[in-house]
Amino acid sequence: MTNMTLAHPQAGPAQRPRSFWDKLRALPAGLLGAIGTLVFLLIWELIPRSGLVPARYLPPASAVLAEFFTLLGTATLWQAIGETLLGWAIGLAIASVAAIILGMLIGSSGFLRRFTASTIEFLRPIPSVALIPLAVLVFGVKLESKLLLVVYASFWPVLVQVLYGVADVDPVAANTARSYGLTSYIARLRHVVWPTTLPYLVTGLRLSASVALVLAVTAELLIGMPGLGHEIARAQSGGAYSGMYALVLTTGLLGVLINAGFRFIQKRWLSWHSSIRSEADR
């Protein structure tokens, strides 16, 4: 990839017109990202200003950003973020712990894997939003309802990843462990299965973290529990579109932060794993 230019053997003058691209390519990653963001904001600004879409429905980026920064100064926003994150964190924690324990159990037995496969395949695609009436029935309009949705949706990615991870234990590594006296189930779990599963697990957690956020906000939006989703619904029902977009932006940024956090953990904990290694090489 580094020597792509070689693919075009015509040297010299033919390469001149590419100089802008070459300059761009030389910039550091962070700066390129910033440029990309700016271009996106510019396009967003221009679409309503040019009248392509009425500004009332899609306010220009500048208006939304201004609204966003005003919101940042209000306690309401931070309270809403707090509510959303509370549901997110508790739900994700419950789902992960349950999925890890179940995944390790099911994954380490061929019988259990086959026995549960059809049920898992059936339950997994059921959209958690369809469970809203059930949630409200069982828990009422309380945090637990949100949790039910969040837990149900974020349980599956972790479970599936843990199952993959457990199945991926290298037979050579397992044999090595056995021949060096790591014969008990616990020792195998701790020294071989767990470290092998960890990278899969972290990937699962990363997926689940995003799903959990989506579900927390959706629950707030549809059931009407306090949090960012509810604020968005309120802004929308009041026709305060810039406020609504600012809140959507907040949600997006929150998602980005969560994802970045998990990437950081991944880098720190899993520096030994090939996927991270190759990332560092590039």
């Binding site: 044999n175 056995r178 790591l182 470290p195 960890l198």
Partner: protein, 285 residues
């Protein structure tokens, strides 16, 4: 490399005539989708304590199968393996195995130090002694400087040396190695061969070494067991009467070396054509 150390150990070895490992009538039939596969028909041989034996045989002869049975990782269909008087039913505590796939047998999430340490930790060896043994073993293979690195930061030869260090630190009575150098380059391979002989000399451990490579078997072993092709029996046992001090260039250039490798080569050619010398039929070594 091993000039000074080898002599006392060698003389000590001569006294040890006790049988350490005994393989008797071992047969293995795999159940596979396309019917049963007889990988190993009937293998019988003994290893004395402190001996260095190599097993050679054509590809698919069942060398890996045999090694796994000895290591207690696989149950034989018939026959028995006895280690230090006790029948082997699971991985024995006094045995260490070095697998061919070094890249997959080192745990990538542990450092070099951690890899060598893990079996000791699991065996609840006290911390002090563990540290001492790990350091010694890493020094023995010349990897002490890299103890904090991860396996994937090492070259193939270095990784294989770590795997050997792990086995050494475990202080086994018997060391099994399954084609350990098949995937390293020739120069590293030569270095590792010398390393293994050196360690064998110094620790007086019993070594059973599986290889494809006739030259390697002649260079390394005191005795070479030649396996027939499938269904596998012991085709011949060749005693390597080369001097105990060996040198990659000198030893390999001697006429006796050439004779021995030619002899084994012919035996394997015979084995491939399915000709088994009469003496084997009797099952005597």
């Amino acid at each position: 490399m091993n000039d000074e150390v080898s002599r006392p150990a060698a003389s000590a070895r001569e006294q040890r005539q006790e049988i350490l490992l005994s393989v008797h009538g071992v047969q293995k039939i795999y159940a596979s989708k396309s019917g049963p596969v007889e990988a190993v028909r009937d293998l019988t041989f003994d290893l004395r304590r402190g001996e260095f034996a190599c097993i050679v045989g054509p590809s698919g002869a069942g060398k890996t199968t045999l090694l796994k049975i000895i290591a207690g990782l696989l149950e034989p269909t018939a026959g028995q393996v006895t280690l230090e008087g006790k029948p082997v039913t699971g991985p024995p505590k006094t045995m260490a195995v070095v697998f061919q796939e070094y890249g997959r047998s080192l745990f990538p999430w542990l450092t070099v130090q951690g890899n060598v340490d893990l079996p000791l930790k699991n065996a609840r060896v006290p911390k002090d002694e563990r540290d001492r043994r790990v350091t010694e073993a890493l020094e023995a293979v010349g990897m002490a400087h890299a103890h904090a690195r991860y396996p994937w930061q090492l070259s193939g030869g270095m990784q294989q040396r770590v795997a050997i260090a792990r086995a050494v630190a475990y202080k086994p009575h018997i060391l099994l190695m399954d084609e350990p150098f098949a995937a390293v380059d020739a120069q590293t391979r030569a270095d590792l061969e010398d390393l293994v002989r050196d360690i064998w000399h110094r620790l007086g451990v019993t070594v059973l070494f599986v290889t494809h490579d006739i030259d390697e078997s002649v260079y390394l072993a005191e005795r070479v067991l030649v396996l027939s092709s499938s269904p596998t029996v012991v085709q011949e046992v060749v005693t390597i009467d080369l001097p105990d001090e060996r040198n990659q260039l000198a030893t390999r250039s001697t006429p006796r070396f050439a004779e021995l490798r030619l002899h084994i080569h012919e035996q394997i050619q015979l084995a491939k054509r399915g000709l088994v010398p009469a003496q084997i039929a009797a099952g005597v070594l």
